[in-house]
């Protein structure tokens, strides 16, 4: 994926009318466009100047809300819900399976920078636990086969492989 440019970041802020009230939405979009699921320091500094918000306030937001990261992560962040309703549907087993298939421990990123594996709090899909959230998509009732298919689908850039597995609203 291409490096995010200053022009793109300025455009994101413009989309929100450079409105400081939209800071959270702007930072979410910058993170999404980064390709590394990160809000880099240079973009925080730029946002601070353009929006007229102190840099400390931007870091207040980035470190308070769980969805933000100030260190680069994988292109695809895989989050396994660990809240109790999912935990007791054997969510730990899912963590192990993803660890095996990806070849990384939970909390770390694969060497090729494609995937980061995390545990997360409830994603609101408790009816289909155990659950993984990858980007904006949620996948439920996971089995080892589904885990393998999902990783293959993202690794090989074949969205059709996972279409049937995505939870609808």
């Amino acid at each position: 994926m291409q490096e995010l440019t200053e022009g793109q970041v300025l455009k994101i802020m413009e989309n929100y009318g450079n409105d400081p009230q939209q800071l959270i939405a702007i930072l979410l979009d910058i993170q999404e466009a980064s390709g590394k699921n990160v809000v880099e320091q240079k973009w925080s500094v730029l946002s601070s100047k353009v929006l007229g918000v102190p840099l400390s306030k931007i870091y207040d937001i980035l470190t308070f809300y769980a969805m933000f990261s100030t260190t680069p992560r994988g292109e695809h962040v895989i989050e396994i819900c660990q809240s109790t309703p999912c935990h007791f549907t054997e969510a730990e087993q899912i963590v192990n399976w993803f660890e095996d298939v990806l070849g990384v421990k939970v909390g770390s990123t694969t060497d090729d920078g494609r995937f980061t594996l995390f545990r997360t709090s409830c994603v609101g899909a408790c009816d289909v636990g155990p659950v993984a959230k990858i980007g904006d998509d949620v996948f439920g009732n996971l089995t080892l086969d589904k885990v393998k298919t999902l990783v293959q689908s993202y690794r090989e850039g074949q969205p059709n492989l996972r279409e049937a597995l995505v939870c609808q609203n």
Binding site: I24, F64, Y65, A66, T84, P85, S121, C126, D127
Partner: protein, 427 residues
Amino acid sequence: MSKLKTLVSEGAGKINPISVSDYVGIGGYEGLKKAVTMTAEQVIGEVKKAKLLGRGGAAYPSGSKWEHLLHIPETPKYIVCNADEGEPGTFKDKVILGQLPLKLIEGITIAGYVFGAKAGYIYVRGEYRKIQKQLITAIDNAKKANYLGDNILGKGFNFDIHVISGAGAYVCGENSALLNSTEGKVGRPRIKPPHLAEVGLFLQPTLVNNVESLASVPAIVLLGGDEFLKVGHPDSGGTKLICLSTHSAKPGVYEIPLGKVTLRDAIYDPELGGGVKGGKNLKFFHLGGQSGPIGSPALLDTPYSYTDLRKAGLTVGSGAIVVLDESVSIIEYLKGVTEFFIHESCGKCVPCREGNKQLYAILEKLSVPGAATPADLANLRRLVTTMTAASFCGLGQSAAVALNTAWKHFKDEFEANVNKTPAVAAA
């Protein structure tokens, strides 16, 4: 007779969620059309008669909240919808947001009309990003059809709704924290008073209601408060969306009339939960989210209503019913609950920030044979009292509810690993 009653979720999954004509086809917008022929006092009168209790978890009477805001002279006023559904075990607002967004939009528009509000905001949790995008399209479509925007239904009333995204913070479900977050700030709760009806969004008078509460408003206006009340319990009208999960045989969202279905029905009836997965025995259930109470099978015959559950030491809360089978250790379960609160505590006040960590440390000891002493149990009780009494907001105040209620029903499991022999004092 069916144990289900579709009032709020009528049409969910059957129509194109973003299509105004589909929504109108199932009777949508009849509530708004009726509301604009009524005065603000008349609409609020119906909400009061309906005895609609806040569906997010706090169960505050919506009619009183609306009346309070109406009598505040300052303008502009704002309508904010709390769609930060983050209580583990809760996924019912998602059904409305994802499958019937126009029902919610209609409810918010009625509120906008009643208060002559400047604008409405729907604060949706960051994890529902796909739903946010769809919600924005539904709002645009409502505008095109003149149900939103300028001169709505030719009545000279202007109102617009904006979607705001959260970014992963459970505490933002607390209404004052949610308003701070909507303003683009860190979502820590505000000190109260002043009430949010007086000093809310941008320090202006504000109505904050849950998704399900606002989505109940069109039905209240259309049926009338009295009819809505009759659907449910004499103390709390209407229906409740319940969410069954974990070891339920049929996990999912179901809409039930309040007070007319028992917990046993909810968990076991073939039309609802259908029992425990794999035919195992029920050990306990956790109601209303992580901040809600834990109940034992002895309480299964309690009718599912705000009043009956309260009498039994339980609550409706968010509507979550997490079903746990006999294989689950209560201490392990509570460790999971406490881990959640450690992660989600905003850190503003000590009883919550440190209390949850200390609770976890004691629970950890209680899960190892012989590791805990009677003094640990006494400390556990003391911590629960301190956190409940001294935490700044509802998060810390209710973080130990599960533990406290589990203590009532499963005291032997707390004591099982305690080393009762008095320790020999070191020489």
